[in-house]
């Protein structure tokens, strides 16, 4: 690994001075010392703390709320229910469009009232004094049951649901389906078809069928949702919030509260982990509370509230049937994917359907998707939303078909892997992609090489010195993600001392500002420390899309590159005029512009800075700008190999090694790319082995804490081997493509395949807990 990085660095040394090299994050110092300010670290004068009362029922009608005792509790400043809220545009089809439910409660933990006090403990105490009368309604908990015609309804008036938001997430053209007028819990459905599925099965030599289930999981950022809002007398609304999407929040608040966008300032505070879960959730609620009390209001979700009432990732069931010829050609993929959306639409059914048939060339597809409502918390994005669920199915099938046909699992994938020009299930062709290159790269990983070694020594049944009840298996799975697309912009200004400030509007959740620093410094051919990058707020920064969909470096990075190029061009033009030369005869290095062949003719950035900023300076201030729109995807593929040991007595699975190869196009900062890959892979391993939100038959969450909802710890994770693959994208800066999300996609499938390799038994449901392993082994 280290060897590889050095080789790549040596190559880059000749080509680039700043990009393509591992760079320490400038924000590191603030984070290791505790200086960095997160939302909960902010204390404003006169600020009140909000605490929420959540519904104990998954489905109920509120018949009355008595707040008298709570209001009289000493220290309580306000008790706010649906009746006390300012006017806002209610949108019943969107969770964020309902601050407090007016009558019908749709999931366990849904907030129904708030208490505000200077002392958070006082607010908490007063919650117990609010008396809500509920009429309990039948909860619908199981999405498969919920699809049945005779199922009770999750919520009333489902046919009124506005689907505009979902459509906003659809990045490919999909024929609009007519929705039945009959009320149903199926919020939406879709179908991708290609070729003749029955003909595909007819020509197959091997057909595998399976039903694959993957549990509801939580993003589990260590910093819970944290928001402060202040509505000033001037009518300006300021929101400090831990979010990936400041401009999106501004736009939503403006629409919902009827405030012009230019009077809302959303400040994206440092995000203590987001992973798709911190887009937009508590901001409207806290803003509305601040508008009522006309004081700053802070709301920090407790861990329990965050587990109960944020936006976790859905349970999904995938019924799949696939066919393959003896030579390894994939002939048919048929699938029915059901995503449990919770109480509101918005489940990632579309990406799941795209990926189920999107990794391999296959002439015959029939992929159906269903998004089903239940009385559970509504779901949101988690790093490549919907992808791991679909990948679990197709990647298990690939291994099972290969095994049945006596083929090598890596070779079978290489034979069928999609390439540039191959169609997605939607028909849209892939741009340049690197799935094949990732398959080749994983073959060189330490983990995969161990597999070859262990096959030779016939030692797949346990490590030396271990008893025979421990079985070892090494297997792989592929995965991919399309990524999001949104416009972006950046500005680049020259300071009077010749240093450069870059301002962007994207929240830096992954070290993207460090990559922007590298990009701007590369364009200007200066040392890194001459460039500083800041994320502005929605009133000071140029627009950027949300930091989600892995697109920040791909889109905002392009805008930064253009802004730096714009600034460079302006500076060269000024210098050319002064030297009476052409800009193309000038060179720029280390903050000095020189005329080729005339050393005495030079102009430093510092001199230019002064000439454009001093009193009565002759030049206008130098400001470069860059703005782009992104229309072309840059999908990222990964192949992951898991080395596991299964204790067949206890069912416990231990990860001994894990490797992933991922195509990132061009690693602008290899250190942070590796960090993204290892972090995403660790989340994939959590999904594979321990993470699952467990609901009882009444729809109550049973494990709303980090002891019973088990994240991987250091004891669970060996060092993850990250292999960067670089197949340049067409439009990304220096060829960079999406990075953040693909790494989570294949962990469940890879671990499942490794467990099957170790034991010969398949576990069809993730997480692959000891209980499920023992069931698969027929021991319980």
């Amino acid at each position: 690994m280290a060897q590889e990085t050095i080789t790549r660095e040596q190559e880059r040394e000749r080509e680039y001075r700043n990009v393509g090299k591992p760079v320490q994050r400038p924000d590191g110092a603030g984070k290791v010392t505790g200086e960095t300010v997160y939302a909960d670290d902010i204390q404003l004068p006169r600020m009140l703390h909000a605490k929420m009362l959540g519904s104990p029922y998954a489905h109920a009608r509120i018949t009355a709320i008595d707040t008298v005792a709570a209001r009289q509790h000493p220290g309580v400043e306000a008790v706010i229910t649906a009746a006390d809220l300012p006017d806002y545009k209610l949108n019943a089809s969107n969770r964020r469009g309902i601050i407090f439910p007016q009558d019908e409660v749709l999931f366990h933990g849904q907030p129904v009232a708030a208490v505000l006090a200077s002392d958070p403990h006082v607010a908490e105490e007063a919650l117990g004094l609010i008396n809500v009368s509920y009429e309990a309604l039948a909860p619908v908990v199981d999405p498969i049951e919920a699809m049945k015609e005779d199922s009770p309804l999750v919520r009333s008036a489902l046919h009124d649901v506005d689907r505009s938001e979902e459509r906003g997430h659809v990045t490919v053209d999909v024929a609009e389906k007519e929705q039945s007028d009959k009320p149903s819990n199926i919020a939406s459905d879709m179908n991708f078809k290609r070729g003749d599925i029955e003909a595909g099965f007819a020509e197959a030599d091997c057909i595998i069928e399976g039903t694959w289930r993957s549990g509801m999981v939580h993003q589990s950022y260590i910093e819970p949702h944290s928001t402060i809002a202040d509505y000033e007398a001037s009518g300006e609304l300021t929101v400090w919030t831990s979010t990936q999407a400041p401009f999106y929040i501004r736009d939503e608040l403006a629409q919902t509260l009827g405030i012009p966008e230019n009077r809302i300032r959303v400040i994206a505070t440092e995000v203590g982990g987001g992973f798709g879960g911190k887009i937009y959730l508590t901001e409207l609620l806290v803003a509305a509370l601040a508008m009522v009390v006309r004081r700053p209001v802070k709301y920090i979700m407790s861990r329990r509230e965050d587990m109960l009432a944020a936006t976790p990732a859905p349970f999904a069931q995938v019924e799949m049937k696939t066919g393959m010829k003896r030579d390894g050609t994939l002939t048919a993929v048929q699938a029915k994917l059901v995503y449990d959306s919770g109480a509101f639409p918005g489940a990632p059914m579309l990406p799941g359907c795209l990926l189920a048939g999107g990794y391999y060339k296959c002439d015959n597809l029939d992929i159906k998707g269903y998004e089903v409502l239940t009385n559970k918390v509504s779901v949101g994005a988690l790093r490549a939303p919907g992808a791991h669920n679909a990948t679990f199915a197709i990647e298990s099938h690939m291994d099972m078909m290969a095994k049945q046909l006596g083929l090598d699992p890596l070779e079978v994938r290489l034979k069928n892997a999609v390439e540039e020009g191959d169609p997605l299930p939607s028909g849209q062709p892939y741009p340049r992609i690197g799935l094949k290159e990732c398959l080749e790269a994983i073959g060189n990983s330490e983990v995969w090489k161990r597999r070859a070694d262990s096959a030779r020594s016939l030692d797949t049944s346990g490590r030396a010195g271990q008893d025979a009840s421990r079985r070892r298996g090494i297997a792989l799975a592929a995965g991919g993600w399309m990524g999001g697309l949104q416009p972006a912009s950046a500005i680049c200004v020259l300071n009077s001392d010749g240093t450069v400030n870059v301002t962007v509007g994207s929240a830096d959740i992954t070290g993207t500002n460090t990559s922007f620093q590298q990009i701007a410094a590369e364009v200007l051919n200066v040392p890194l420390d001459m460039v500083s990058v800041t994320t502005g707020d929605t009133k000071t920064a140029p627009y950027a899309g949300m930091s989600a969909g892995s697109k920040t470096t791909y889109t905002v990075g392009r805008a930064v590159k253009l802004a730096a190029e714009d600034m460079r061009r302006q500076m060269l033009e000024i210098a050319a005029r002064r030297f009476e030369a052409k800009p193309e005869d000038l060179e720029v290095a280390d903050g000095v512009i020189r005329l080729n062949g005339a050393e005495e003719k030079n102009l430093t950035f510092a001199r230019l800075g002064k000439l454009s900023t001093n009193f009565a300076a002759p030049l206008p201030a130098i400001l470069g700008s860059g703005a782009i729109t992104a229309r072309k995807m840059a999908p990222g593929f990964t192949v992951q190999a898991a080395d596991v040991e299964v204790d067949t007595e206890t069912g416990e699975v231990t990860v001994l090694g894990f490797a992933l190869a991922q195509d990132c196009g061009f690693a602008i900062n290899p250190m942070s790319v590796e960090g993204q890959m290892q972090g995403g892979a660790s989340q994939g391993i959590g999904i594979a082995l321990s993470e699952e939100m467990l609901y009882d038959s009444e729809g109550r969450l049973l494990n709303a804490n980090l002891l019973d909802y088990r994240l991987p710890t250091t004891r669970d994770l060996p060092p993850i081997e990250a292999i960067i693959v670089e197949v340049p994208s067409e439009e990304g800066p220096y060829g960079a493509r999406i990075v953040g999300e693909p790494s989570i996609v294949a962990g469940l499938a890879a671990v499942g395949n490794a467990v099957a390799e170790a034991t010969g038994a398949r576990v069809y449901e993730g997480p692959i807990t000891p209980e499920r392993v023992l069931r698969a082994l027929g021991k319980i």
Partner: protein
């Protein structure tokens, strides 16, 4: 509620604080001494983001009452930096990419320091054991292991000088 006067020795400074009996050590330090480096990620002792050294022992300060720490010597992440110079563990986390979102970092660094104080030459298994009480969701721990190994090397090199 009746407040109680306690004495906390935090990072070498003595503070007298009037606290309510139900305040945790974490909220006392964060909200009343305004040392906000230590973080609350769960409030139930599961994540380790609030880790502090209390009389030399690594503790999750969200599970300790302020009153229990009366008279104790407490080190928080703010106490590791001496005269503006980072502790080698802090330096190593920056250099090796052990920092991503930063929210677990203060607690993780306290746990790493605690480990290195008792075992200056840990192997990977020692590190995996020593940091097991601290959750990180961003890194997959790989670069945290690298950071602790590097810190051990740096501390050894400094000791030999």
């Amino acid at each position: 509620m009746t407040k109680q006067l306690i004495t906390l020795n935090v990072n070498g400074e003595r503070h007298e604080v009037a606290i309510e009996p139900h305040w945790t050590l974490l909220e006392t330090v964060r909200n009343h001494l305004r040392l906000t480096g230590s973080k609350e990620g769960c409030g139930t002792g599961d994540c380790g983001a609030c880790s502090m050294l209390v009389d030399g022992r690594l503790l999750t300060s969200c599970l300790m009452l302020g009153a229990q720490a009366d008279g104790c010597q407490i080190t928080t992440v703010e106490g590791l930096t001496q005269n503006g110079t980072l502790h080698l563990v802090q330096q190593a986390f920056i250099e090796k990419g052990g920092v991503q979102c930063g929210f677990c970092t203060p607690g993780m660094i306290m746990a790493a320091k605690n480990l290195l104080d008792s075992n200056p030459t840990p192997g990977i298994d020692d590190i995996r054991e020593g940091l097991a009480g601290n959750l990180c969701r961003c890194t997959g721990y790989a670069k945290i292991y690298d950071s602790v190994l590097a810190a051990a090397e740096m501390m050894k090199a400094r000791a030999e000088r």
